[in-house]
Amino acid sequence: MSTFNTLLLGFISIVLINNLVFTKFLGICPYLGVSGRIDMAFGMGMAVTFVVTLSGTLTWIIDNWILAPLGLEVTRYVCFILVIAGAVQLVEMYVRKFFPSLYESFGIFLPLITTNCAILGLCLFINLWGIDNLLEAVVLSFGAGIGFTMAICIMAGIRENLKMVDVPDSLKGAPITLITAGLLTLAFMGFAGMIR
């Protein structure tokens, strides 16, 4: 029961309270780049969720079962980025094969998931927080993906409505998106302190 509680709390905290986009500034590039339409945002969120779950789990295993016993922590970053690049390659092949139209609309942003800070960031944070069991690492990685999907979908929803608004000329595009994002983080700060 207590394990279940820890996992549930961990999941809620990474989705709402420690949301990677809103509190850690990770994954801002796709967050600003792909949040124009809600269906693309959702597809991107799903792709990132898959990659982050896979690579979060794999990097935890590599870090704890291979690098730590062998004393090779120095090569940690190189290993992490290799795992992530491999996972992204898998997703890219899968999407190209089964969802060609989605693949077209993603364009450059799909291979760029490799350089999505949210993914490497999560792997590093799992390492930093000293998560010491595999199950927790899996749940946290999955939660981070869900949190990212939620953030990017909310943003896409707002931006779709923003198209009908008269924004000052010099603020059009990225600036107004950033300001909106700022207000969103303000809203999400309401969750801070919910779980200690």
Partner: protein, 206 residues
């Protein structure tokens, strides 16, 4: 001959200046947003971050430029990230050894330089196509442009959130610090307004 060297010199100058303003990585290309937002709560970490990025950018541009003829298209990005992560590991170990406090403050954002889009973008757009000298100059221009932007953003945020710049008090006593500026909200909104300002300035010119 003189004319030829003249044009080379002007190309170098162009490349250097492009990074500083015309193609400023943060304001014009919207690259490297994550560290821009994350480490700019105060000037000191921002400066450290900027210097680490310059180091990694110059080194990776040198290596990529030297091996540009050996690159295979589909393995390109992988090679770039591997090169970059090696240099980031060096920078991270250096910071941990000589600047332990700063390393603690920056935390995972130092290793996150690996996925900083600026570095990959420069490797792809410049170093993999140009010779060594142009690549190095481009790296310096871009790196300095990035650092300056970080410092501008960080000074605004530090000034408004604590009334200090570089940990020295500037504001008069009656100034009430805006706590929100040191939080994520402050980062997003300040950068948004700065971008708006830059848009306005450049529009007036053209």
């Amino acid at each position: 001959m003189t004319k030829n060297s003249d044009t080379t010199a002007s190309i170098y100058k162009e490349t250097l200046l492009a990074g500083l303003w015309r193609e400023n990585p943060v304001f014009r290309l919207l690259l490297g947003m994550c560290p821009t937002l994350a480490v700019t709560a105060a000037v000191k970490p921002a400066l450290t971050m900027g210097l680490s990025v310059i180091f990694v950018l110059v080194c990776s541009n040198i290596v990529v430029s030297l091996m540009r003829n050996l690159l295979k298209p589909h393995l390109r990005i992988l090679m770039f990230t591997l090169t970059i992560s090696t240099f980031v590991t060096i920078a991270d170990l250096f910071l941990r050894a000589f600047q332990p406090v700063m390393s603690e403050t920056l935390g995972p954002y130092v290793p996150l330089i690996i996925v900083n889009c600026i570095i990959i973008c420069r490797a792809e757009a410049c170093a993999s196509k140009n010779n060594l000298v142009v690549s190095i100059i481009d790296a310096i221009g871009m790196g300095v442009g990035f650092t300056l932007t970080l410092c501008v953003l960080a000074s605004i945020r530090e000034l408004l959130s604590t009334g200090m710049i570089f940990e020295a008090k500037v504001m008069p006593d009656w100034f009430v610090p805006w706590a929100a500026m040191s939080m994520p909200v402050g980062a997003f909104i300040t950068l948004g307004l700065l971008l708006g300002l830059v848009n306005r300035l450049t529009k007036g010119k053209s």
